[in-house]
């Protein structure tokens, strides 16, 4: 491969995805919910971006928009400098060779009536057209070996395998066409911790070996910290904080990120005895209605008048660390 080491693979600008809500009144405009609201992000070759947030924050919708599985209402997505158009079948096909996805449910993402070998071979042929049978088998087997599966798995069916083995097979299927970016949507969330650790290590190895970039969507902050160089925190469809993994985990600037981190239970009883229970105001169902000002303001312990009036912009709070918070701009970083 001859391209520059850190080419920008994916550039997303002002991406907005809205969904219609059920009508609450007979007349008047239909209510819409902004699942993804004016999101900007980019991923370079070999980079790992973690996307974190609570359920319903728009993580998966953002991923689906990037994969061209939902049509955004506004904004642009560029893949290696080329704008992505949903009506451009040829362009999408080219992009899909380089952009692959692994979902949460490993068993559900494999065809139960195809052997693992057939599943992986099918992906290869879908991306690269009909292949020579012997060459296909060799590539499938080397891919299975690369994700740590025994060649005997080739002839076995998803129901015969464990969840971890199925997830490895799903990864093999996604990687067999040598993509440049792998989107992992909660790809380790359904797995037991011992298996989760194996898959996280596998992703880290694949990245090191092939310069594979990852968009790693997870609600598990500790896993994101282990795997990702950069982190974007999503709240109500907006990126509220973004920065290097080191900066965000060491010194989160947005109160939402701090609350998320504080809520992660440490596997250490002594730490629990020391730490007070975070006083996080839960998002009530009633809050689903539009909030004036910062979307986090009803739950935020720091909210003041300004927060209730103006939506904060995502701004640099030092060293390229971005936060969308009026208070983060005013207050210095916590030591």
């Amino acid at each position: 491969m001859s391209e520059a080491a850190n080419e920008t693979l994916l550039r997303v600008r002002n991406l907005t995805v809205r969904f219609p809500m059920p009508r609450t009144r007979l007349v008047g405009p239909r209510p819409w919910i902004k699942a993804v609201d004016a999101v900007d992000l980019e991923i370079d070759t070999g980079c790992t971006l973690g996307l974190v947030g609570e359920s319903g924050c728009g993580k998966s919708t953002l991923a689906r928009a990037i994969l061209a599985l939902v049509v955004p209402q506004a904004g642009t997505i560029e893949w290696r400098g080329q704008p992505l158009r949903h009506d451009d079948a040829v362009g999408l096909r080219r992009m899909r060779r380089e952009l692959q996805v692994v979902f949460q449910d490993p068993v559900g993402s494999l065809d139960p009536r195809m052997s693992i070998g057939e599943s992986v071979a099918e992906a290869l042929e879908a991306l690269e057209g009909p292949q020579d049978a012997v060459a296909t088998r060799a590539r499938v087997n080397s891919m299975l070996a690369e994700v740590g599966l025994d060649p005997t798995i080739h002839a076995r069916y998803p129901h015969e395998l464990s969840g971890g083995q199925c997830q490895r097979a799903a990864i093999a299927r996604a990687l067999v066409g040598r993509p440049k970016l792998l989107v992992c949507d909660e790809a380790v969330s359904a797995l037991d911790v011992s298996v989760q650790a194996q898959i996280v290590n596998l992703l880290a190895d694949l990245r090191r070996r092939h310069g594979l970039a990852l968009l790693f969507i997870s609600h598990n902050l500790a896993v994101v910290r282990h795997l990702c160089d950069e982190v974007a925190v999503l709240y109500r469809g907006r990126v509220v904080e973004r920065g290097t993994s080191a900066a965000i985990f060491a010194g989160p600037r947005h109160p939402y990120t701090r609350a998320l981190l504080a809520a992660v239970p440490d596997p250490d009883p002594a730490a629990h005895a020391r730490a007070a229970v975070p006083e996080l105001r839960a998002a009530a169902a009633a809050e689903a209605v539009a909030v004036v000002g910062c979307a986090y303001q009803p739950r935020c312990p720091l909210a003041d008048g300004l927060c209730r009036e103006q939506v904060p912009r995502l701004e640099d709070v030092g060293d390229g660390h971005l936060a969308a918070c009026h208070q983060a701009r005013i207050r210095p970083a916590a030591s």
């Binding site: 464990s162 083995q165 037991d192 609600h219 282990h226 985990f249 440490d266 596997p267 996080l280 169902a285």
Partner: protein, 327 residues
């Protein structure tokens, strides 16, 4: 047995008859829950941690058979007379499950469902039941409790539903609450609140059995921990001791594979190589031996019994060797 044991399980086994033959989910489990303590039962999926308690409470799926003994406050629940089990279940012994939506009836208000628990059993009259509902809902930290009583389950968020389900379980002032993965479906922020609710209930004297795979949750609330692997208990210990120095190699490996926020990044995560035995497989030796980093020669031949080592019990050959008898 400790004198203050509230719930005692002895030699409990759970078997299922499946088209592929009989499968043992739980084997020879003995444990106790003391009054006012939180016992966490941890293990990976398929380890039998849920089936153990479903078996004790007579709630197994079709084809499930339980054997052994489960005594609640001295009364045998699994005897030929079903009376004690029926009397205790849902009254002095309550359960909360992972999905709160399944515990709540969609077309009844929260207030009606809470009151029903005590009205159906004839424990309180309507006015007292209403007062108890409000009191219990407040005790689980439900915001705007009074208004919630008039709402339906779909109007509540996931965390609020789980709190309503816990409130329902607490209506009869039970002595023991068995909570099976109560926070698994919840966001971390909401999980922290639900754990806090359980911790406060425990502090008021309720004994809690927390079935979970999340070691972080365990550390936040458990007094004692029982670790299960392939249907058996491999280690029980006070929570502090278990986290400080896990004795069984499986416990150690399980703790090491949890990615953490509070430790320096060490590069790779430590997984456990290999896989647990297939359901129904009954190896001659220790079930963990094929994956164990400190496996010894006898591990493949004979199964180590659960033996007491001071305040903890461990089933491991490596710990049975007398001191000074080799590395």
């Amino acid at each position: 047995m400790a004198p203050d044991a509230l719930f005692e399980v002895r030699d409990l086994g759970v078997r299922f008859t499946t088209p592929r033959g009989r499968v043992s989910a739980v084997r020879e489990v003995t444990l106790e829950v003391r009054r006012g303590e939180c016992l966490a039962v941890v293990g990976e999926s398929g380890s039998g941690k849920s089936q153990l308690f479903l078996g004790c409470l007579g709630l197994l799926a079709a084809g499930g058979v339980v054997e052994g003994s489960a005594r609640f406050d001295g009364q045998e629940l699994l005897g030929p007379d079903d009376g004690p089990r029926r009397a205790a279940l849902g009254t002095r012994l309550a359960m909360v499950f992972q999905d709160p939506m399944n515990a709540l009836t969609p077309h009844l208000t929260i207030g009606r469902q809470l009151a029903e628990v005590v009205l159906e059993r004839g424990l309180l009259d309507a006015a007292a039941a209403r007062a108890r509902s409000l009191e219990v809902l407040q005790s689980v930290g439900m915001p705007e409790s009074e208004e919630r009583l008039r709402q339906y389950p779909h109007e509540l968020s996931g965390g609020q539903r789980q709190r309503a389900a816990i409130a329902m379980a607490l209506m009869t002032r039970p002595d023991l609450l068995v909570a099976d993965e109560p926070t698994t479906a919840l966001d971390v922020t909401v999980q922290a609140q639900v754990i806090d609710v359980l911790r406060k209930a425990r502090d008021r004297g309720l004994a809690v059995v927390l079935i979970t795979h999340d070691m972080g949750v365990v550390a936040g609330i458990a007094d004692r921990v029982a670790v299960m692997y392939a249907g058996r208990i491999v280690e029980t210990a006070p929570a502090g001791e278990l986290f400080a120095a896990p004795a069984h190699p499986y416990t150690a490996a399980l703790l090491a594979s949890v990615p953490r926020l509070d430790t320096p990044l060490a590069g790779r995560l430590v997984g456990i190589e290999g896989q647990p035995p297939a359901p129904g497989a009954e190896p001659d030796g220790c079930a963990f031996a094929p994956r164990c980093p400190s496996v010894l020669e006898p591990c493949h031949r004979s199964r180590p019994p659960l033996e007491s080592h001071g305040s903890r019990s461990v089933a491991c050959h490596a710990l049975r060797r007398p001191a000074g008898a080799g590395p």
